[in-house]
Symmetry: C2
Subunit: 347 residues, 2 copies
């Protein structure tokens, strides 16, 4: 792990300049242009020497002999860790974020979807948001409603205020009275229980029940098995199409790779999940490691909290070449707003 000391003042300035320049132009940056553009008081030759040093250290590379330099993955990581200074949001931007998130949203999922759209709009990257971690999702309320003799609608409200519902065909017909007892049974036994494991929980205790209790439990299982499979979306993504505009995805094959990745959801979800665990140090930039599926991609994400506990991440996904100094601010501020808004729905 590099320490900030490893680089001289001049090296740091130049690395910073190269990154900033490359982020906007997406082209290799040469010594002359960087001097002119940033008004540095060294000659191009000096800068060239320093850039050669930075290349030896692995922070820059040339795309071919005698072309300009491009920051490497390590270069970006160093930049994000030591060099970047966060760029505060303007008042306009703050109020835009507030306004967009204070629209009429009556559901946690609504909020997350709206958040991804907003982030995509503000950053011109793909907006992403992770639903609360499965392990923290608990039953608040279950209710079955009779539709016909053998079909009922079921409703599940969780501790994040999310409401999901579906319908289910049951084996034998259920009277209104029986339904009432079924609802009581489910709520008595399942309130506060982890949604992911609620069916298994009942199944295990099945042997402890007798008579009517046992009958109710069996009925409940028919409902419980079908409910969580009606899965709420685990990962929200919006605005992925904007990535087309980035030159790094200009050729089809690359674009297809990235889109395939996004469509599969798992790799990104996994990255976010991992980031959430280890983000105590609030490291919010994840630069895809070389050799992994996420090579060349970066994620900027911040945890949002409910009742003070971090439960998921919101952020953006885009090419490694991103204006991190602005994006971290946008994402951080947005995540904060999301946290405040979600408090309304949770209990």
């Amino acid at each position: 792990m590099e320490s900030a000391k490893d680089l001289s003042e001049r090296e740091r300035t130049i690395l910073c300049a190269v990154v900033n320049c490359y982020v906007t132009t997406a082209e290799p940056v040469g010594s002359r242009s960087v001097v002119k553009q940033f008004g540095l008081d060294w000659s191009p030759a000096t800068v060239r020497n320093t850039m050669a040093d930075l290349e030896d250290l692995g922070f820059l590379k040339q795309v071919h002999t005698s072309s300009g330099r491009v920051p490497t993955e390590a270069g970006f990581k160093y930049y994000v860790k030591y060099l970047m200074q966060v760029q505060e949001l303007t008042l306009r931007e703050r109020s835009q974020i507030q306004d967009e998130l204070n629209r009429k949203l009556n559901d946690t999922d609504d909020v997350l979807r709206q958040t991804t759209q907003l982030l995509a709009l503000l950053t011109h990257q793909a907006g992403i948001a992770e639903a609360p971690a499965e392990a923290s999702v608990r039953v608040q309320r279950i209710e079955a409603v009779r539709l016909t003799d053998t079909r009922m609608a079921v409703l599940l409200v969780d501790n994040y205020g999310r409401v999901r519902s579906t319908s289910v065909e049951v084996g034998e017909s259920v009277s209104g009275d029986q339904l009432q007892r079924l609802n009581n049974f489910m709520n008595d036994n399942l309130s506060g229980v982890e949604v992911a494991g609620m069916a298994d929980g009942v199944r295990q205790r099945l042997k402890d029940y007798f008579d009517e209790q046992r009958l109710l439990a069996q009925r409940a299982l028919e409902v419980l098995d079908v409910l969580p499979q009606q899965k709420t979306k685990q990962l929200f993504v919006e605005g992925a199409m904007q990535l087309f505009d980035q030159p790094e995805f200009a050729d089809m094959s690359r674009a297809r790779e990235v889109f395939g990745l996004i469509e599969r959801h798992d790799p990104i979800a996994a990255m976010l999940r991992e980031g959430l665990q280890s983000s105590a140090g609030r490291q919010r930039v994840f630069i895809g490691e070389e050799g992994t599926a996420l090579e060349g991609l970066s994620v900027v994400a911040s945890p949002y909290t409910v009742n003070g506990r971090p439960v998921g991440m919101v952020g953006i996904l885009g090419p490694r070449r991103m204006p991190y100094s602005r994006l971290t601010s946008v994402v951080d501020y947005t995540a904060g707003m999301v946290s405040r808004i979600l408090e309304r729905f949770a209990r």
Copy 2:
């Protein structure tokens, strides 16, 4: 409008051959190759003459002087209308469709999503499915469930067996007893009413209500305003990424156009809606008109029925160059299966 008579037997054979060849290769087709490939007993020169005639009629065109011929939009339309002979599905294909659609699906939306995925898989085009037309969606059951003093979860089941739900914050707290009366009020007054207009309906009759009825109606409005806005998806699309594989979308700008179109949903939904109205004659191929947003795109779609009434379309979207003879069969058969399955959920 062309009649089949307008073309000679030879012209028809050759148009058909050109279309078939072009559909598989995506390249301009020359006289020599079409003769060889289809074993026609005319010489290339004869075919050339005929192709020139077909060009004059507007069914073929050359991409540049002295290249092979490519079918025009009109050419494809003629082919679909008069020349194409539907290709029956194999038993394997039929049973695959049956199997995929007979999985555990407990919701109309589930079925439609699964259908689009299946169609995308089978045809290598984008699968699309339209939800039942809004005008035909009626309330079967509404139920509000108390969560806290001022928040309730609400559940709406419609005549297609779709279940949607959300939560809503109400102005003043509601007791369990009041909630019971609210539910009764809503089900008494709204069963069978069009979902899209249910809130407005109550609003209009508001002046006829007095005392407790009026109070209930006002409470109901708080719920009803928020429910349909929790809109069920109107258009399902899956596998759009496969379109990247088609050479017509090889360049970015075109691909972006198409993806933008798909993401916007409206143009496609509008086309399907229109097709549903006029599809009495079961014309199931829609070839995007030149000059419109859908230029160069085609849709193959069939209506699915519920209780014998056509209520929506399922199908595929892809480039104009498609193997229509196979795809119409796949889509037709799938739509039939969907109809049968949806009967289960509807009432």
